[in-house]
């Protein structure tokens, strides 16, 4: 069988996977008696049709860039970090503790501190599974799943028993002080020409984009990144080269958890301005889809995050304006993960066949 050219592997495989996911989603809609065309229109209109829609699409995309990068870094170290959700939740806790601890004079100062808090808490939550994987061989997939649940329980405890202000009914922290509130895109000169009304997308978007560049440089330009990738490709070879498996596993997971935690500056600090239960809204899991779709490259992750931002905002719009339940977006998410992550071989086989046909057709014409 013919191998795929590199460009096809990088672009066609995800696109065809996406196409499969889209076609099946459309079939699902038909089966439940809805019009896929209408649904798509509503999604495009709601997510991309106005600055307001973009405000949400970009807001979601921001979160997904962080979690997608988190999964990516772990993947490069050969680790499947399925614990982004829990790490993001802990990141949220870090943000809340930082924001509530001081009467912050200016958001820039608060942002730096909160980012550190988010990354630290997220990383800490990844540290235990990382240590157990590296030192005791406990399968990181299972431990990170367990840690997601433990994180959820921990957050309930923190919100209900510790952070909830007296007299408040819902399990949420107090509102952050004004000095810890981030400017939304509509508050930023330049952006405010496009976004005239309040939108949830905020300065964190710029941090997310910066992190994509940082992760790229880390993975492909630094010694650490080199070691992470080498370890991820072959643990046995890494050992030969004197790359310490324990060290790399832990560092890669700390970075991954830190990135997942950092998404909380977007939703907790930038949007909700207080810590809510389940603030990460599944973004940790979407990071898996984003990383797979983005072929584990930061640039691809940014594109895939935008796509999922569109999907999430569009899906919310479906829930608002049509009788299609908002869960439609979870279906699409599942399909994308299935095709890009588990059935990639099938997609590749189909493409290889197609390429083979094209090639033999060319050869025939040449002959």
């Amino acid at each position: 069988m013919d191998r795929l050219p590199r460009w096809a592997d990088l672009t066609l495989v995800p696109l065809v996977s996406l196409l499969f996911a889209a076609v099946i989603s459309a079939l699902v809609l038909l089966v439940i008696g809805q019009s896929p065309v209408e649904a798509f229109k509503v999604m495009v209109d709601g997510a991309l049709g106005s600055p307001y829609g973009w405000g949400y699409t970009l807001y979601y995309a921001t979160s997904f860039i962080f979690t997608g990068l988190a999964v990516t870094v772990a993947f490069h170290a050969g680790l499947f970090n399925i614990g982004g959700e829990g790490q993001a939740q802990l990141g949220g806790l870090g943000v809340a503790l930082v924001c509530l601890s001081l009467p912050w004079p200016h958001w820039t100062v608060a942002l730096i501190a909160a980012t550190a808090g988010a990354a630290l808490f997220g990383a800490a939550w990844a540290a235990i599974p990382a240590y157990l994987q590296a030192k005791r061989g406990s399968h990181i997939v299972i431990t990170t799943i367990m840690f997601n649940y433990i994180a959820a329980a921990l957050l309930v405890y923190m919100l209900v028993d510790v952070l909830k202000p007296v007299g408040q009914a819902d399990p949420a922290s107090a509102r952050f002080p004004v000095g810890a509130q981030l400017p939304a895109l509509n508050d930023i000169p330049g952006f405010n020409l496009i976004f005239e009304r309040p939108v949830p997308a905020n300065v964190t978007l710029l941090i997310a984009l910066a992190m994509a560049v940082v992760v790229w440089a880390l993975l492909w330009r630094t010694r650490l990144g080199y070691q992470i990738r080498a370890f991820g490709k072959s643990e046995a070879a890494a050992k030969y080269a004197g790359i310490n498996p324990v060290r790399i596993t832990i560092i890669a997971m700390l970075i991954s958890g830190g990135l997942a935690g950092m998404m909380s500056i977007n939703n907790v600090m930038g949007e909700a301005e207080r810590l809510l239960q389940n603030s990460s809204e599944g973004a940790g899991f979407i990071g898996i889809a984003v990383a797979l779709m983005g072929r584990n490259h930061p640039f691809g992750v940014v594109l895939a995050a935008l796509l999922f931002g569109f999907l999430y905002q569009g899906g919310a719009e479906l829930g608002l304006w049509t009788s299609i339940p908002i869960e439609m977006r979870i279906v699409v998410q599942g399909l994308v993960i299935l095709f890009t992550g588990a059935l990639d071989m099938m997609v590749r086989m189909i493409l290889e066949r197609a390429f083979g046909l094209v090639r033999s057709a060319k050869a025939m014409r040449a002959a």
Binding site: Y52, Y56, V156, L159, V160, A169, D170, P171, A172, R197, P198, P200, N267, E271, A272, E273, R274, L276, Q277, N278, S279, E281, A316, E317, G319, L320, W321, I326
Partner: protein, 311 residues
């Protein structure tokens, strides 16, 4: 065009949110108007839903559940021309003139069903399953306990709360297990004020052959012959009225009580055989006294204490 946002239990919880839905449907049928509706699935969605509806020009935006108060407080400032309604929540009217807070005297309605429970109980033990452990739900429990004690001073009262997060509104498994536990402690009438969780309570009571009391909507029909009555909280009326007033909505805070028919208990063919004439007479007499002010049921929320029970 008005809009309605349901809380986490979902539109068809057969209880609180469904009452709101019924009110909106009644308004739509009577006026031929249409309304937008959204079901919350998640804490973090609330603000987006509010903004999106306000953005689209919905007015008034009616919301159910206390969880909406805080987001409304944020969003209402950005949309001064839009009216917001929070049912069961509380938003400071001084700061937010475009927000209407509607509350209910749950303790009064609960008092009546508490009496009925005590009168129907053969074991001398009645019980309560609450949803999320918040003052609002304790107010239900407290009113219920007061009524039960009034009808039978020797009554034994058991109370369990489902949880401390909104997940407590939608955990029927836990509801039915709590009901079974209460039955094994001797209770034979269980009042569930727990949203979707309550459905599990009512189911378990029916399975176990004991009585239950529904909440918010009339839930008597869910298990005919097993649901003793339902404590009505006329969320439907609140929604209906708000929608009827439309954009001209009067935002003076409302407290709907027994006197204003905001709360009550449900009688229909499904529970006709369970409620004897004497029981009904006793309960109605108490209702009259409450309406007239002769009898004051303690509101747990005023001082966080309950004269008839401890939590």
């Amino acid at each position: 065009e008005p809009a309605l946002i349901y809380d986490l239990g979902g539109k068809f919880d057969k209880s609180f949110n469904e009452a709101a839905y019924n009110g909106a449907e009644r308004w739509a049928k009577e006026t031929g108007g249409s309304y937008k509706e959204i079901e919350m699935q998640n804490e973090a969605q609330r603000e987006q839903a509010l903004r999106r509806l306000a953005e689209a020009g919905s007015n008034p935006i009616v919301t159910t559940g206390f969880g909406m108060s805080d987001p409304i407080a944020t969003v209402s400032k950005d949309f001064p021309d839009t009216k917001f309604v929070t049912i069961d929540g509380w938003v400071d009217p001084a700061e937010h003139p475009n927000v209407l807070t509607i509350g209910f005297a749950e303790h009064e309605g609960s008092y009546l069903v508490g009496m009925m429970a005590a009168l129907a109980s053969k074991t001398g033990t009645v019980s309560f399953v609450g949803g999320m452990d918040i003052p609002l739900i304790r107010n239900f429990a407290c009113g219920y306990a007061q009524g039960a004690v009034a009808a039978n001073p020797d009554i034994k009262f058991i109370s369990n709360m489902t949880g401390t997060t909104p997940a407590a509104w939608n955990d029927p498994v836990k509801g039915s297990e709590l009901a079974k536990a209460q039955k094994s402690q001797g209770s034979d009438v269980i009042f569930a004020a727990a949203g979707g969780t309550g459905l599990g309570v009512l189911q378990a009571a029916a399975d176990e052959g004991i009585l239950s009391i529904g909440v918010d909507s009339n839930q008597n029909h869910l298990h005919p012959g097993s649901v003793l009555t339902s404590m009505l909280k006329r969320v439907d009326v609140a929604v209906y009225n708000s929608m009827t007033q439309g954009a001209e909505l009067d935002t003076t805070m409302q407290a709907l009580n027994l006197a204003s028919d905001g709360v009550g208990y449900a009688m229909d063919e499904n529970n006709a055989e369970l409620v004897t004439a004497e029981m009904q007479a006793a309960v109605d007499a108490a209702a009259e006294k409450i309406k007239s002010g002769e009898l004051v049921v303690h509101d747990y929320r005023t001082d966080d204490t309950c004269p008839a029970a401890t939590f």
